[in-house]
């Protein structure tokens, strides 16, 4: 062997080092730079929490914002707030995206000579604003959404100071008819609180109390409380069984438009039984026979009678006035009928409570918007300021786009929308997480909103802009001094601003007050809703769970949360009953041309049996122009030109004559097959669980142990017993103790999900997405079956004769004690840890995908692309630094929020103790308004999960596979005589 001399040695070393260095040339090195001057209150790696307010809808839930290194990464409900009570809905969980929206406005814009909106400076923008305000003094109108805090007064003050008291507070969901009905019946034009938690019978007349109606989070919490332990029977009345109705026990589907007759028949029967004094109204009810109602509505007499009897027998019944989807030409009358039913049944003051009212009295509505459009056309208004409203989208029938054309319009929107695109000057507001604010959603419940991140774009708080403009106009002295924040602080000074800021607000709900019926004042006609237009289908536009009225449509995360009924994402669909679809000769995915008096849309068909055959149902909120949601489709970083279609364009602008509310349920439409067929982004291919016992149910009798030895005598009205799934399938099951599945002496983590509480609202899905950096992948990839959600709501429909029962089961990694995924991984990328967790290590994964194939629950998700490249500046700022951002080619799945387990264990170690029960709360459990999810330690026999696991309702999905799942499900309870109808 030749000798190696020093020179050769050095050459070889140099070459090897060079080769090694070259081989390492991949991604550019990013340096982690420590703070030069560390800001106070910021400790790298330690989260800070701030109380604030959610501004996604008028419900204004109190929030706790979790920030890391100066940027908010997660929001949850504020436990001190009587509205959110520590919980949030699907939209609240996604609300951070408004701040981290890549396509929000970067700074002020003005209309250039060539007609385009071009960037400008704030100085320029403000001077234009001031000039125009001076020019149009006295003819300025301010169109805004619902403001219930300091900004509301500030706007009024400013308008008064410049002599233009034209103020329109417009929300598409304004409850005008309910307010009108209350005014007529009880002399108070307010919206009372519907106290679900006190009710033992809940009857919803088309109110989507879980999606958008009034205060969904608070109502869902109350509903869960009322129903816990099998209490409170619930009935849904309406032509379509949406999310809110799906969890209720009985479904009465009157022929669309005849809801009034059903309500009156119920009212008449209940009033008779309860001997309620309806005064002058009694006479008007005389002709409303149950038989007549049965004939008109298509609901059998005995079912109407049974419901009437239920209402009359209930201690605390609660009837919910119609939501938007059932708001027709008779809206005020129908609301009045339902409120009278509440009165007759004794619910007023018990479950329907005036005081604290929803702070909606000053909210205008569709009629105010209509007025404004008229005044714009007649040039009575010369300048329009728009903040928090999008009339061009929400009210296409009013022709706002054309009415605004000759008016100088200023938009304060933080992101582009239909109205802003037509504005002449855009002065973008901060997003709620960047700005100060306050709200009073219920009288006496006042919440503060504080900035948790420095504004990411060149935006200014509208409050400050208005103050500055007022000072420039020389009317500043009639407005608060200092900045907008100073104005808020001044307004809160009497209750202690700093303390309120720390708590999130001041919660002194106004006291309950009693109301008396002035029956003679009820002038609204009790008639059926008028449906107009050609065609044989009734158009049912329903508000969207994820998109509200469309204001949340730009959040890709919410676009990708499946519709709770159809399980479709990213679009608009026409929902038809199977019989109707067969009659039209269409099936799933066929494109239908829907023509109303007002417009025409082409929509793909979805067929499901939870709509009435006369109805074609379309979700509101889609079809924005321009759209800029931050998800690619179908190629990398390519943005879509349109998502779905705007269902409002099918409404001709007919109103309820009493209240002026837009009649949503007013159009008959014609539907024709176009011949086109689309591939649909469907996340669940079938709603039949094939008797596999995934979402199980039991009966009230079984829970109470009443039916022992009485299997053949249907003492409970022919009630069907749930088949014991595994037995029926001849599959053996073995009992097991999850505590055996962990080597650690202290911990075996597990979860219990109460399906009786779970309503399928998807809040857990968005909470999980936010907490665990789950990427949104876009419609095309969902269509290809690559969705990434770690938790999904499986929806199953059970048929009992003609009756339909909808069940939901959240499906997530079961952290099996004997997990099928673990032994098949060749590289230990997934393994069982000492605490019983089924751990997934993305960095070890080489992507054989065998684990996903072998997972019986199909909860593993694969990174088919480098989804982190889908992120657009500044979306990366929302990522949770405690959770790995997965690269392409690796598997991922639910971790039981292992980062939260670690944090709790660290704290426990510091304090020299074990983790306490309830100390670790995964994101899904934390946000669940129904409190259906419990997480804890099975090694601790006193933990809540251990106790709940011993519940008679407990079962394990696919238990016969002997996977020993750590997720225990509690069967939902079928109440009443025939279960869901």
């Amino acid at each position: 062997m030749p000798e190696i001399d020093r020179r050769d040695f050095l050459k070889i070393v140099g070459l090897s080092a060079g080769a090694a260095a070259t081989a390492a040339c991949r991604e550019p090195v990013e340096k982690i730079v420590p703070y030069l001057n560390q800001p106070e209150e910021v400790t790298p790696g330690i989260a800070s929490f701030y109380a604030s307010t959610c501004r996604e809808c008028p419900a204004s839930c109190g929030l706790i914002v979790k920030t890391r290194e100066g940027r908010p990464i997660k929001v949850d409900g504020n436990p001190a707030d009587p509205i959110s009570q520590g919980r949030l809905c699907v939209r609240g969980q996604a609300s951070l995206l408004r701040t981290y929206d890549a396509s929000r406005l970067a700074g002020p814009l003005k209309r250039a000579a060539d007609g385009n909106l071009v960037p400008t400076t704030w100085e320029d923008g403000l001077s234009i604003l001031v000039d125009k305000l001076r020019e149009h003094s006295g003819k300025v109108a301010f169109l805004g959404g619902l403001e219930t805090g300091t900004l509301d007064g500030l706007i009024d003050d400013l308008l008064a100071a410049i002599g233009s008291p034209n103020r329109v507070r417009f929300e598409p969901f304004a409850y005008e008819s309910l307010r009108k009905a209350n005014e007529q019946l009880f002399g108070t034009a307010t919206v009372p609180q519907f106290r679900f938690e006190r009710a033992d019978l809940i009857v919803s007349f088309g109110a989507d109390w879980q999606e958008t109606w009034l205060s969904p989070v608070k109502q869902q919490i109350g509903y869960a409380e009322a129903r816990r332990g099998g209490k409170a029977f619930a009935v849904y009345v309406g032509p379509r069984l949406g999310l809110s109705g799906a969890d209720m026990d009985e479904w009465l589907a009157p022929v669309p438009g005849t809801e009034m007759q059903l309500a009156l028949a119920l009212l008449r029967e209940v009033a008779l039984v309860k001997r309620a004094d309806l005064g002058a109204l009694s006479g008007r009810l005389r002709s409303q026979t149950t038989a007549g109602a049965a004939e008109a509505t298509g609901i059998p007499v005995e079912r109407i009678r049974r419901l009437a009897r239920r209402i009359a027998d209930a201690d605390a019944p609660l009837a919910l006035p119609p939501g938007n989807e059932m708001q027709g030409s008779n809206a005020t009358g129908l609301a009045a009928a339902v409120q009278l039913l509440n009165y007759a049944s004794g619910a007023i003051g018990k479950t329907v409570v005036f005081g604290p009212d929803h702070n909606l009295e000053r909210l205008g509505g569709f009629s105010d918007l209509k007025n404004l459009a008229g005044r714009l056309r007649s040039k009575a208004v010369g300048m329009l300021l728009v903040h928090g409203a999008n009339p061009v989208y929400a009210a296409p029938a009013l022709g706002f786009a054309e009415a605004m054309a000759s008016t100088f319009t200023v938009s304060f929107a933080s992101a582009n929308d239909e109205t802003t695109a037509l504005a002449d000057l855009v002065l973008p507001d901060h997003t709620p997480y960047e700005s100060w604010g306050d709200a009073e959603p219920l009288r006496g419940v006042r919440l503060l909103q504080q900035p948790t991140v420095r504004p990411l774009r060149d935006t200014r708080a509208t409050g400050d802009v208005l103050l500055e403009a007022a000072r420039a106009l020389g009317v500043g002295e009639s407005l608060p001094a200092g900045s907008f924040k100073d104005a808020i602080a001044a307004r809160w000074a009497d209750v202690g601003f700093d303390q309120a800021l720390a708590n999130g607000g001041v919660f002194n709900p106004a006291p309950q007050r009693s109301v008396t019926l002035s029956a003679g004042a009820a002038t609204a006609a009790f008639e059926n809703a008028k449906l107009s237009g050609e065609g044989d289908l009734v158009l049912l536009v329903y508000p969207s769970l994820g998109l509200y009225d469309g204001r949340s449509a730009r959040f890709a995360t919410l676009q990708e949360v499946p519709n709770p009924v159809t399980k479709l994402v990213w679009g608009s669909y026409a929902e038809l009953h199977p019989d109707t679809a067969a009659r039209l000769g269409v099936e799933f995915g066929d494109v239908l041309r829907v023509t109303s008096e007002a417009g025409q849309l082409e929509l793909p068909v979805v067929v499901h049996e939870t709509v009435r055959p006369e109805v074609i149902a379309i979700e509101a909120g889609q079809g924005h122009q321009p759209v800029e949601p931050g998800a690619p489709d179908p190629d990398y970083l390519k943005l879509r030109s349109q998502i779905g279609a705007n269902a409002f364009t099918l409404l001709s602008g007919k109103t309820d004559s009493e209240s002026g509310a837009l009649a949503w349920l007013s159009a008959k439409v014609r539907a024709e097959k176009t011949g086109a067929k689309l591939l649909m982004p469907l996340t669940q291919p079938t709603f039949d669980q094939e008797g596999r016992g995934i979402a199980q149910a039991t009966t009230m009798a079984a829970v109470l142990g009443l039916d022992a030895g009485n299997h053949h005598a249907p003492a409970h009205g022919g009630e069907q017993h749930e088949p014991p799934y595994a037995d029926a399938m001849h599959l053996e099951t073995v009992d097991f103790d999850p505590a055996d599945d962990a080597r650690s002496p202290d911990y075996r983590w597990g979860m219990v999900i109460d399906l009786d509480a779970c309503t399928g609202c998807n809040a857990c899905v968005t909470a999980c997405v936010q907490e665990n950096n789950i990427f949104t992948i876009g419609e095309e990839l969902v269509r290809q079956g690559r969705e990434m959600h770690w938790i999904r709501l499986e929806r199953y429909v059970e048929h009992h004769g003609d009756e339909i029962e909808v069940r939901h089961a959240p499906m997530l990694c079961q952290h099996c004690g004997s997990a099928p995924c673990e032994p098949v991984c060749p590289v230990f990328a997934t393994y069982h840890n000492d605490e019983g967790l089924n751990v997934m290590v993305p960095n070890r994964c080489i992507g054989t995908r065998y684990c996903a194939n072998n997972c019986s629950y199909k909860v593993r998700r694969f990174n088919y692309f480098a989804y982190d490249r889908f992120l657009r500046e500044p979306e990366q700022l929302r990522l949770n630094p405690d959770v790995t951002v997965r690269s392409k080619g690796v598997m991922e799945k639910c971790t039981f929020c292992v980062q939260r387990i670690s944090a709790a264990k660290d704290q426990a170690v510091i304090e020299g103790r074990k983790v306490r029960d309830g100390e670790v709360i995964p994101a899904c459990a934390q946000t669940c308004p129904s409190q259906a999810i419990t997480f804890g330690n099975h090694k601790d026999p006193a933990s809540r999960v251990s106790k709940q696991r011993a519940d008679g309702r407990a079962y394990w999905v696919f238990q016969h596979l002997n996977t020993r799942p750590a997720v225990t499900y509690l069967k939902s309870i079928r109440r009443g005589e025939t279960g869901k109808a």
């Binding site: 290809q784 969705e787 499986e794 994964c845 054989t848 995908r849 065998y850 392409k888 690796v890 596979l961």
Partner: protein, 443 residues
């Protein structure tokens, strides 16, 4: 019968002349064919590059069908690799002398098939560049591999099989490359020189050589059974309905021999024609291979029937629905291609005249190749697409990337085989000579 009138080489030298005719310069047509195949392989490389750069999303794989064309093709090529060893090793041990004419071709096919097969577990990885995580060696990651995983068993099963089949091929080649070495003068002389390992044809060397072949045959024989059994456990060990069954090992081995024999015929028929080897690869060979096909086709058909029977007899609703779905669900077409090609098409082979009719045999063999690819496709996709949770059922359609790589794998295999044809004697000279002398002595 046709066999009787077939010409038989008269002298030993004629064997060398005929068989080593491959050493003459190739025709332009040959060069063109090889270049065409190379082009197709190049297309596959481009497809793989696209997949590696963008991610597995460019395939049609989805939730819940996370395995598709790649694993199908892997199992297919592993199966193909079985006939070679069966012919060379097992038939050698059973002294089935007719094998001598076809064993070289079959062995080469084995080597190339197993090399092709071995690529697919890598191609299917989400992170191809981390493939070495699968190998157990002391590493800075501080991680060992999971020997419980059937995929880890595959690493060893396929690895062992590759080594043994290459050894077997190379040892059998020694006397023939020595003969070839003595006839050429160009660069090939060096290649043959190395591969011949100093072969001089002494009786001592012959004795050692025949012992080596015997021992290697002994080693290779269990592998024929074990490799495909292990591959079948990739599926049988899992919980997936339609995969989780004990019949898989014998079923897969029979299927492997079935498809391997079909591939031998598919490849040898054109070779026989092109190189005028009709007097070496004789109708008797086709007759015998046909019998093998009939036997294994019957076993495979029986396995299909047993699978369906067991699904019904088990009373397991998941199993039952999976098989109902297999026959009448979304993938009915694939299942019926499988059944037609693997059970119905080989039925005429019960008749000797069909077995002796080369063009018919060739057509049937091609159908069997197709059918056996679909067999694996059916098992993998129908099983995965219809598992326990109805909320997670799905339908998988392969993408252009997968189909390109599938086509490239055939091109790659054929290209290697064509290069082999021009480089090495496709028929084992010394073994056919033995046959000649035996025949001359009246055996």
């Amino acid at each position: 019968m046709a066999a009787i009138s077939e010409a038989v080489p008269q002298t030993a030298d004629q064997y060398n002349e005929d068989i080593l005719a491959v050493l003459k310069p190739p025709s332009p047509l040959y060069v063109l064919a090889v270049l065409g195949l190379l082009g197709l392989v190049g297309a596959g490389v481009v497809a793989l590059a696209v997949q590696t750069y963008f991610g597995m999303g460019v395939t049609g794989l989805m939730h819940p069908v996370m395995w598709g064309v790649y694993i199908t093709t892997f199992v297919f090529w592993v199966g193909i690799a079985h006939a070679g060893t069966l012919i060379s090793a097992i038939l050698f041990l059973f002294r089935a002398s007719w094998r001598n004419a076809i064993n070289r071709g079959a062995e080469a096919m084995t080597v190339f098939a197993v090399i092709t097969a071995g690529l697919f577990p890598l191609i299917h990885l989400g992170r191809l560049w981390k493939f070495y995580y699968m190998f157990p060696y002391p590493n800075q990651r501080g991680l060992w591999t999971n020997f419980k995983s059937p995929l880890e068993w595959d690493v060893f099963a396929v690895g062992t099989y590759t080594i043994i089949s290459i050894l077997f091929f190379a040892v059998g080649l020694i006397p023939d490359v020595a003969a070839a070495r003595d006839r050429v003068t160009d660069w090939r002389r060096h290649l043959y020189g190395i591969l011949a390992m100093g072969w001089r044809g002494t009786s001592e060397q012959w004795r050692h050589h025949s012992r080596a072949v015997l021992h290697l045959s002994g080693l290779a024989t269990p592998l024929v059974l074990s490799v495909h059994s292990v591959v079948s456990w990739d599926f049988a060990v899992s919980l997936v309905p339609g995969w989780h069954t004990t019949i898989f090992a014998p079923y897969f081995v029979a299927g492997a021999i079935f498809s391997g024999m079909a591939m031998v015929i598919t490849v040898l028929v054109p070779v026989r024609r092109a190189f005028h080897l009709e007097s070496y690869i004789r109708l008797e060979h086709f007759d015998n291979m046909g019998k093998f096909i009939v036997l294994t086709s019957t076993i495979v058909g029986y396995s299909y029937a047993v699978e369906f029977f067991m699904a019904w007899y088990s009373a397991n609703p998941y199993e039952q629905m999976s098989f109902w779905h297999r026959a009448f669900g979304d993938y009915w077409w694939a299942t019926w291609i499988m059944i037609s090609c693997n059970i119905l098409v080989p039925l005429p082979l019960w008749i000797k005249r069909v077995r002796m009719h080369v063009p018919t045999m060739w057509v049937i063999a091609i159908f069997i190749n197709l059918g056996m690819w679909f067999e694996r496709f059916v098992i993998i996709t129908t099983g995965l697409s219809h598992e326990y949770s109805p909320a997670a059922w799905g339908y998988y359609t392969p993408s252009w990337v997968e189909l390109t790589i599938l086509a490239a794998s055939f091109a790659w295999f054929l290209m290697l085989f064509m290069i082999f044809l021009r480089l090495f004697p496709v028929i084992a000279i010394q073994e056919t000579k033995e046959l000649h002398y035996h025949r001359a002595e009246g055996h």
